[in-house]
């Protein structure tokens, strides 16, 4: 008896939905084992996590607070990944978006009176993210420079630059040595809806729907789909591959930059430590668990945000490291990656025959 993978004629829809759910379950089991090894009761821990993340209105608001940047960066990463452009620079794009938003809100109050300051700050963040992502996009399309590394290296540069600003020239002189800028005018504050959660959540959900429509229903979305499937085929059809990749990656960066601007105008109201805490990396998990489908991103973002808020709760209640939540997030990806095979292939059990069977004609 032998196990053979046979390519499916079309992508399996049940597998597309079941694989992320099963992966989540597997991750729960693996983490339970880990918890047991470290002498903690898995059931109690999970109960504490669930209550912490979704059980109270404060907890739920905090889950939304974390879900907003994950949603925005998750959407950004998903767009780039659809084109097989491995943008792992969401963290840096978010950071620079936050820096630009803070810069506008802090120093350009005179140019943008009243509420217009908020929109100027958000726009600044969006543009900063788009430009920062544009650099690796141009390097990739013009010189074929590996984008994974460039985007990653640019994260470190952006984070160091933001640190330089809030420890250096932008530091609040009346801040008693606190690493952060002064608080900016309330004109640039994003309205809040529940606890610290702000209207960014509605923007994120709306953008998910809009992006889904753009990718499914517009000519541009169709072109991107062809480029993602095969650049060669796209060229034969006369699609401007390079220009489209640059545009899409800049859109990806703009979403991540907007995520940073939301963090600044919605949560901290100043530039300070704690802007770059890894949302841009978790975004990769969000995008991959959503199978790069924008409509799935908000749900996955809220689920992963719940894990992370629950992880913080577990630290307070049970004395377990908060990194718990991060470990669980990481553990989701492995079964997810292993399971993705089943969306394209089916498992066949073959009994040995006296003669080797003829190979199937290629499906590709």
């Amino acid at each position: 008896m032998k196990f053979v993978f046979e390519k499916r004629k079309s992508t399996s829809v049940p597998a597309l939905i079941l694989v992320p759910l099963i992966s989540f379950a597997v991750s729960l089991v693996l983490t339970a084992l880990l918890l047991a090894v470290f002498g903690a009761d898995p059931f109690k821990t999970y109960a504490a996590m669930a209550v912490g993340a979704f059980g109270t209105s404060h907890g739920f608001a905090e889950t939304l607070v974390k879900a907003i940047p994950l949603m925005m960066t998750g959407l950004g990463v998903a767009i780039a990944f659809r084109l097989k452009f491995w943008n792992i620079g969401a963290e840096g794009q978010l950071t620079l978006g936050g820096v630009a938003a803070a810069g506008v809100a802090l120093f350009m109050e005179h140019y943008f009176p009243g509420r217009s300051l908020l929109f100027a700050a958000l726009f600044g963040g969006l543009i900063a993210g788009a430009l920062w992502a544009g650099i690796p996009a141009i390097l990739k399309t013009a010189l074929k420079v590996d984008e994974t590394l460039v985007t990653l290296m640019m994260n470190y540069i952006a984070i160091l630059y933001s640190e330089f600003l809030y420890y250096g020239p932008w530091r609040d002189p009346k801040g008693y040595g606190f690493p952060g800028s002064r608080m900016f005018s309330a004109n640039a504050w994003l309205p809040r809806i529940m606890g610290r959660a702000h209207v960014g959540i509605w923007v994120g959900i709306a953008l998910a729907v809009i992006l889904w429509l753009v990718l499914r229903r517009t000519r541009w979305g169709f072109e991107l789909q062809i480029i993602g499937a095969s650049q060669k085929a796209a060229r034969y059809q006369g699609i401007a591959v390079e220009r489209n990749i640059i545009l899409a990656v800049m859109l990806s960066g703009a979403l991540c930059g907007l995520a940073g601007a939301f963090e600044i105008t919605g949560i901290s109201h100043r530039l300070q430590q704690g802007l770059s805490i890894g949302y841009g990396y978790t975004a990769i998990i969000v995008a991959w668990m959503s199978q790069l489908n924008p409509l799935a991103v908000p749900f996955v973002a809220i689920a992963l945000a719940g894990l992370s808020v629950g992880g913080d709760q577990v630290q307070m209640v049970m004395g377990l490291p908060a990194a718990m939540g991060v470990v669980m997030q990481g553990l989701i990806l492995f079964p997810m990656l292993a399971g993705s095979l089943f969306t394209e292939y089916r498992l066949l059990i073959v009994k040995p025959e006296p003669r080797a069977a003829c190979p199937e004609p290629s499906q590709e």
């Binding site: 590996d146 290296m153 640190e163 420890y167 990194a323 991060v326 470990v327 990806l333 990656l337 199937e360």
Partner: protein, 316 residues
Amino acid sequence: MDFLTSILTITIRAGTSLTIATIGEILTERSGILNLGVEGIMLMGAISAFAAVFYSHSIAIGLLTAVGVGGLLALLHAFLTTTMRANQVVSGLSITLFGTGFSSFLGQRLGPASNNFRLVGLRAERIVPLAPEWVKQIPIISAFFNQDIITYLVYILLPLAWFFLYKTRPGLWLRSVGEDPQTADAMGIDVTKTRYLYTILGGIMIALGGAHLSLSYTPGWSENITGGRGWIVIALVIFSMWNPARAVWGALLFGGINAVQFRLQASGTSIPANFLNMMPYIGTIIVLVVMTWWEALSKKVGAPAALGTSYMREDK
């Protein structure tokens, strides 16, 4: 002279973890498997080695633990990308994400109760330089010999890996699997087995690079002790054009940048520390751009042709 000797000593010490991990990643990529999990495997190697030495007081046990952990994580990557045909980029990223989170978790959990279960701030035995006292007196030369056992291992591995890859039969098999798995398969080479083997071997070397950080270069455990070195390794593989003999130049370049950075910071320069700390990252981008441009100009292709693609005999 003393100044030069000390710069050179630090450069080689800083370059050690980079070089051994680069040789490992070259062997892996030569088989056609791109492992972006280097950063995560280095972190896990660093913490497991440090924790093992802390409790066993034995460097050997520490290094063996790192070897085991690195091998296991690489095995996971090999399984996902080879058997389960998962996307190599995403699988590697997952290993890095997991390694970053898990090492941070372990750092807050594996320590003794007296330190609140944390490993941060603890001291353990270090790997000490091997050279006898009289060698340390010789200027310049001593920089090469006043090093620890992992650096000596790098001295051996560099020519060995080159010789293996270009002058031996298994080395030829390895290269052919990375260039053209179909042909290699037709020649009777087991593509899957080769990929598993060299991914695991690479993971072991990468983990040893991590162990060098926590046991020698910056002794002790701190979160994200690697500070992006794993990613620089991936750039160094491109810089060395997948040839282990060239790995040393890139590692020395980056080790040198680190050493200069140290020296400038110590001398109290007016350049803000944050900009100095950007140097290795900006350096990596410049090196990448120049190397890619040069490769295109000279029409040389360094990368194994099948890098990043999974091989399935059933669907050609």
